[in-house]
Amino acid sequence: MEKHKETKTKRKGHYPMFDSSKVPDDLCPIATELIVMRTGDWRAERPIVLRSKCVKCATCWAFCPVQCIHEKPSWFEADLARCKGCAICATECPHHAIIMVEEKE
C-alpha cells in the first residue's frame, strides 16, 4: 500500500480559513454564515428557583445536561437562553427549590 505523504505544516499558529468565495451559496451545507440557534427557544416550561429554599448544594448544577446553571450570590439559576426546560434540575433538587412554570408566548 502506498505510504501516505505527511501533511507538511507551512505556517505556525492559526491556518487561514477555507476560502468559500467561489463556492455557490446553495451548493452544500458549509459554515459560511453564522446562524445563532438559541436552544432556549425550544422550551415549553421554565425552571424557577425559589431562593428561600435553595441551599446552594449545586445538585442542579451537576445534573443539568446542557450545563446552563450559573452560580449567583446565594442561589443557582438557569441561563434561559440555553435552558431547554427538561426539568431534570427540578426533579433532582433535594430541597424542592425548583419549580417548572409553563412558558407563555
Binding site: 500500500m1 502506498e2 501533511t7 507551512k10 491556518y15 487561514p16 480559513m17 477555507f18 476560502d19 468559500s20 467561489k22 463556492v23 455557490p24 451559496d25 446553495d26 451548493l27 452544500c28 451545507p29 458549509i30 459554515a31 454564515e33 446562524i35 440557534m37 427557544d41
Partner: protein, 396 residues
Amino acid sequence: MPKKIVMDGNEAAAWGALLAKVDVAAVYPITPQSGVAETVASFIADGELKADLMDVEGEHTVLSVLQGAAFAGARTFTASCGQGLAFMFEPYFRSPNFRLPIVMCIVCRDGITPQCVWGGHQDAMTVKEAGWIHMHCENNQEITDTVVMSYKIAEHHDVMLPVSVCYDGNFLSFAAEPVEIVDQKVVDKFLGKKNINWHVALDPERPMGVDPLTGLTPLGGKLFARYRQGHCKGMQNALRVITDVHAEWKKATGHDFAPLIEEYRMNKAEYAIMTIGSMTGAGKDAVDVARDKGKKVGLIKIKTFRPFPVKALARSMSKVKAISVVDRSVNYGWNCGPLCQEVWATVPFMDKKIPVISHIGGLAGTDLTIEHMTEAIENAAKAAKGKVPKETIWLT
C-alpha cells in the same frame, strides 16, 4: 490500443473503477455484488490500481468511509445491492446533500422478503428519491463505460452529485461478454485533473465548519430550503452534463451509448414498449420479430432514471399512440411498476394524451423472454386501437 476481454458485469464495473484510477474503494460483499469487491481487491493487490481498499464491517460504514475520503479529495468507488443498500441508506441520502461525487454500482437485486438473492430492480427503485443520479445499464460494455463517464458527470462543477450505476444482478453481474477496454491514456485525457473537494473539504490546512445546524428558525429554514433548491438545480444540470459527457465519450472512444433515453426502431412506429436495464435485449429482439411480421412497433430504453428525462421522453413518446412499460420491480403505492408511474407523470407534458400500460415481470431473477415482450407489444397494439387494460399486467 484498445483491447477486448471477456468478463462478467461485476468485473466490467471494477474495470471502470480501474480506468478512472480511483483513490479509495470501500467494500462489503453481498450477492450478487461480491465480484466487484473481489475484482477491485485483486487489482489493488496486483498493483494495477494504486488505491486504498477498506474492507469494513458493514455497508453503513462503507459509504461513511467514502464520504470522509471524498471530503479529503479522493476519487471513490463502491458497489452494493439489496439488503446491503438498505443498511447503507442513512449515509446514502446524506452523500448527495454534501454534494460529494461518489460513484457506486447498484447490482440490482430484488427486495426480500420472500427470501431471494436474485436480480430485480426493487433496491434501486426504493432509493430513487435519495438525491443520487441513477443510470441503468443494458450490457457489460455499457457498465464499464458508464462507470468511467460517471466520474466526469459527478465531478462536473455544475453537478457535484453522487452517481449510482445500476445493472441487473445475475443477468449482467454473472453473464460473460466481451468488453472493449479503452486505452488508459484516452481515459486520463477524458477525465482530466480531478478537483473533488473544492467546495467542501476535510483538510487541516484550510479548516472549515461542515454541516451546520439549520432549520426551525425563519433564517435557518431559509438556509435549509436553499440547499434543497441547489440540489434540485444540480440534478437538472445533470441532464445536460450527462448528454454532453456521453457525446464526448463517443468522440474519444467511438463507443456510442444513449445518454438519457435510447430509441430503437421508432421510425414510423405506431406504438412502443419501454424497457430499463438488461431486459432491453429481449425487448429489441421482440421488436425485430414483430417488425418482420409488419407490425409498426418501436422501443424506448430508459438509461437515466434520476434525474428523470421528462422533456426528452415526452418528445419521444409523442411519436406513438400507445406505450407498454415493462418494469422489473413493484410500486406498491400505485399498483404498477415504478417506471410506469414516472411515464404516467410524463404524459401531461405531451401535446396529446396517450395510453400507458403497466407490465411487471422478471422479478426475483426470473427471465423476461421474447414471449413476454411480445405480449407487451400486443397489449400496446390493442391500446393504440382503443382497448386499454385497466389493471397492471403481470408477466410471469
